[in-house]
């Protein structure tokens, strides 16, 4: 479902990043980075993740000089079962709340829902937030990191970070111009260590739908930036779009999973993942480049593997989704 907007703007963003992310190339764009450990003073990975989100939202309110009472709505989701990080972080804020889950596509899902509330004049200020935490995610989805389970090169590394964005109806330098809500795509892939391959067809379908519905060619955008396909998924997407949709995005294309880290030097396998991965990149570096007019039109396409360990153990394949959001400089 493709939509265009006239009155939805980015007021401010906040990004808090973990150790590996702080050691990556985007360090200077983050509002806060952690260097000691991944506990952040808490006693469990999950509580650390909750704190990360709470602190990120507090930073966003401070940077945007808004009180809680001025925020109409907060939309948040994360990877922890029952989106516990969002539920437990957000109970600290006196703001109406909607919980969402689209795995690593959560930030774009939230931005689209918020954009519709604002465009329809039902809300003025909406926060969208997400968080992920490497060791909390490993513990829940794979094995506790203490086990030292080896991984193949195609696997990705869940980013540790909190990311929040304040969308508003007041004109600013950057607007949300359009969006496309994706469909669930399941091509029968069962390799949980190759999420790039699982999600690439969903990204392809959403990018094709977005461009087709808006009658645009890929060069309308300075950059088309998928969620977190990683370096192998990235290659698959380019080939898949060429083969299935006769669409060549190779000149404009990159992937957040390969931008967040220096994937040649850091031990992150094929690149970053987790809902914070694309949100950290988009809400810090990409937003900065748009504000500075170094980029003018960017299509962000966070991708999510709607992976459930329960269903995986029952031999089910892995569904995926991708939602696109067009960000443009306000002329």
């Amino acid at each position: 479902m493709t939509t265009t907007y006239k009155n939805v703007f980015i007021k401010e963003t906040a990004t808090h990043a973990g150790i590996y992310e702080a050691n990556g190339p985007l360090k200077k764009y983050f509002d806060k980075t952690y260097t000691k450990d991944l506990y952040f003073g808490e006693k469990s990975w999950e509580k650390a993740e909750i704190k990360l989100l709470k602190d990120t939202i507090t930073t966003l309110l401070r940077k945007s000089r808004k009180k809680e009472s001025e925020i109409d709505l907060i939309i948040s989701g994360d990877l922890i079962n029952q989106i516990a990080s969002s539920n437990y972080a957000l109970r600290e804020f006196n703001i109406p709340f909607l919980g969402i889950y689209n795995a690593c596509a959560t930030s774009s899902e939230g931005m689209i829902i918020a954009a519709n509330f604002i465009e329809g004049k039902k809300a003025k200020n909406c926060i969208v937030s997400t968080v992920s935490h490497n060791t909390a995610a490993e513990k829940q989805y794979r094995n506790p990191t203490e086990y030292g389970t080896p991984k193949p090169e195609t696997s990705t590394f869940t980013a540790t970070g909190g990311a929040a964005i304040l969308l508003t109806n007041e004109k600013t330098k950057v607007k949300i111009e359009s969006s496309t809500i994706g469909k669930i795509i399941d091509k029968g892939t069962k390799d949980v260590n190759h999420m790039g391959a699982v999600m690439a067809p969903a990204a392809a379908e959403t990018i094709y739908e977005h461009l087709t519905k808006l009658k645009r060619t890929p060069d309308y955008y300075d950059l088309i930036l998928t969620g977190d396909l990683g370096k192998y998924g990235k290659e698959i997407l380019i080939e898949y779009l060429k083969k299935v949709y006769h669409l060549d995005i190779s000149k404009q294309y990159n992937d957040c999973g390969t931008i967040l880290y220096d994937i040649k030097k850091q031990p992150v396998f094929a690149g970053g993942s987790g809902p914070a991965c694309s949100a950290l990149v988009n809400f810090s570096y990409i937003y900065h480049e748009l504000k500075e007019k170094k980029l003018k039109r960017v299509l962000i396409v966070p991708t999510g593997a709607l992976f459930s360990p329960t269903m995986y153990f029952q031999k089910e394949s892995l569904p995926a989704i991708a939602h696109a959001v067009g960000l443009e400089v306000v002329e």
Copy 2:
């Protein structure tokens, strides 16, 4: 956040109910009931839950005579980790998808998001769906039922059912007139066997907010119907609203958890729960009464305990939320 709507209508609903629900007082209002077992021909409780949702949506499309291609958007959520039931059921439909999670308040959350897409003229036909399955939920949240763990009288019984509603911009007999998005309320309660007590303050806050913002008294509504507080939570809500907000809703008030079953005869403890509980009641019996004009204005207030076993084991209290949706007969 309270909103009114002018152009959002209910086109159709579909409800599939399990054995205990079929043995309750609302049997004749459901589109389909199951009587054999809770597997529905599948090999696991989770796969049975997925099938239940898939079949319910198929029934909704058939009843409303709509093709998948005529549906702009489907919004769905459930109790299974990673909202797996929604993700795996919805991969079978070629419809743009947004996944949500607000536990047993999921149906109202979805209706509010859909109403905003329709009111803002960005979508014409949106499906909102949810599902829960007694034994799948017990296995994940508590103990497998095979263990025979005893329960106190204040505990509730997760409903087995799929429920879906089609909202549209075309005028019909029943409209969505208003909504209030709730905040996360956590009063420090830690009793997972007394969710009514956990959720009552969230319901109170949302009902008070809704009535106050719209300058209405409780008697504006023929019925104020909370999600699934159960018989003890129901008493707590009435007292809490009187004491804290000086608001008496006792004349208009009831709770879906006590309507879905005959709580005096059926072994459901304090009543029903699960996202399907309120959705089964609201999308079948309540919708029927509105169509027949036996009820003219109903405020449904599905309530959700944003309970996470992981955080509960880490000694955290239980956050809760409630979202209100005003349903009215179109005159």
